[in-house]
Symmetry: C2
Subunit: 375 residues, 2 copies
Amino acid sequence: MTLQFQISAQSTETPARCGSFETAHGGVKTPVFMPVGTLGTVKALTPEDLLQAGAQIILGNTYHLYLRPGCDVIAPFGGLHRFMHWPGPILTDSGGFQIFSLAKLLKMSEDGATFQSHIDGSRHLLTPEKSIEIQITLDSDIIMCLDQCIAYPAVREDALAALELTTRWAQRCHATWKTKARPEAALFGIIQGGMFPDLRQQSAEALVDMDFPGYALGGLSVGEPTELMLEIADTALPRLPSDRPRYIMGVGTPENLVELVARGADMFDCVLPTRNARNGQFFTSRGTFNISNARFRQDQDPVDPDCACYTCHNYSRAYLRHLYTARELLAYRLNSIHNIHYYTQLMAQMRQAIAEDRFNAFRRTFYAMRASDAG
Amino acid sequence: MTLQFQISAQSTETPARCGSFETAHGGVKTPVFMPVGTLGTVKALTPEDLLQAGAQIILGNTYHLYLRPGCDVIAPFGGLHRFMHWPGPILTDSGGFQIFSLAKLLKMSEDGATFQSHIDGSRHLLTPEKSIEIQITLDSDIIMCLDQCIAYPAVREDALAALELTTRWAQRCHATWKTKARPEAALFGIIQGGMFPDLRQQSAEALVDMDFPGYALGGLSVGEPTELMLEIADTALPRLPSDRPRYIMGVGTPENLVELVARGADMFDCVLPTRNARNGQFFTSRGTFNISNARFRQDQDPVDPDCACYTCHNYSRAYLRHLYTARELLAYRLNSIHNIHYYTQLMAQMRQAIAEDRFNAFRRTFYAMRASDAG
């Protein structure tokens, strides 16, 4: 039986809500942030690091894993979990976004997307059926429909065509999932429609008619102003059934997460905490700073005095600055641990605030803290 | 009171022996291998990783730490231990070898070595007194005398001049250590003399007269044939008092360690396990192999089926090959954990074999295993 979403608390001040769902690899409490494990590893971290940093569920990239190491390598392990030694739930994307952003897209047709690998230039055809089958081979707990992503900005005609193709592909994905996936694996539909609120509404309604276990907003955080992203969320999220999880793909900053949870979103993924960690940027309750700054040279304080992560518990800013400026490998790991922990704790704080029905008070404190000095 | 070396077992077949010593940061059982933590980090590993991999004591590089992050950064932490969050003993080298191999050596004088930093070209003078003072600032548990290293091959005249300078510097180091170091910090003298057995004998005798808590052989593993290295060890080690630890600097391969333990050596350091790990090479009881080899693409076995390390316990060769070929950061860490564990377990096996007075049987098995297939 596929994913059942249980809502445990509903904010009376905002559409924000707390919930949970079970998978074959354990439960997930929402709102949740999912660290991105592109190539079968959340960069620089072990599964134990991730669990200690509070990760409940991670994301795998179908496009990347299909190209490297390839399904024939992962399949004998029974899926991605055992291959990478991650015991918890995994959500896989469909590959659509990476074909759009990384590969050379050769041809988009009714059948699927023909593209050239960004690794070796080899040609591949990804159809909706094939995307689902790859995700089934990865033993994904939450499978995503193949969608067509468009650039920002886009004209209405292109946004409409992409959403209509995405809708037809969603039907094919749904049929493949129904017949081939293990019963506990869920399939989420992806709402497209660019930055046109009425198209987002049209996309949401078409997908809701197909009855997915969960719904996602795709094509956000692609360069649009935050106000526009929030306007799209304001339009689309209320069209989705309240008893299904709502996932905003590829978003975002701590402020984005707070604003989208406030609008009733439940799930997020983003490379921001890990990628920025590798560039020396720390997220803290008081805002962000870059550890390479010379003012940290002799700073014996932890990154965030209020943080309980492994990095803040054991290392000073002076040491982390030294590692980072010397380009030591340990820097990437310690920085990533902190940033993932910051994101998971931000979500935990939101869950608690919703459960205690004080989300607006939480939100005010969140912004007030960030106005203070981070480092 | 400085380091007291207790011999707990003496092989009756060979000069190999087992012992232990205490430091202000814990005890060490010998023979011991010390992973190299060049810049205040054993590359890619946390102190917890090192402890789990069996490390008892690590090495810090005075030259590197003096240049980056600098003593003024480390001093306020009370030393290197707290700065890098390593709770165990630390041995620091003197900086001599790095000035010889990394820096641009500008002038070697009676006073000390004038060199240009390999980082920013800045000029520095390292005297014997300054080397000891830096190591005291690092709160090193075992301090090394500043020595003059020479290239291989070298003419006798140069080898003699370097050993005589090293001997005079050793007296100055000894005086600085006696007056400035905390009482538990030990100072080791370094025997030089190039590949000339009689010069090694002369160097050993001069240093033994000064009564150091421990003695090292420097200037080995600099390109000479293994037979020559072992000949030097055969000459020098018997000249050293049996109640003091004997440290062979910068050595070496697993075979080197076995042969030098057989000759009565107690301590070793080398970048080989960690550097080679970062180049994809694994050490195992059956020999070495490189994980990038295509034959491991779908190999579900661990690196070494007989190994109990974190990496072998949780990951397959197929996964490690995938990480390594994709240049994922996690590869460097998982590979390093295995190789350090291999080295520490090799030493543990030797300690046990000596304690049970079956070192020659151990040595035969060691070579027989390596003749079998590693991968």
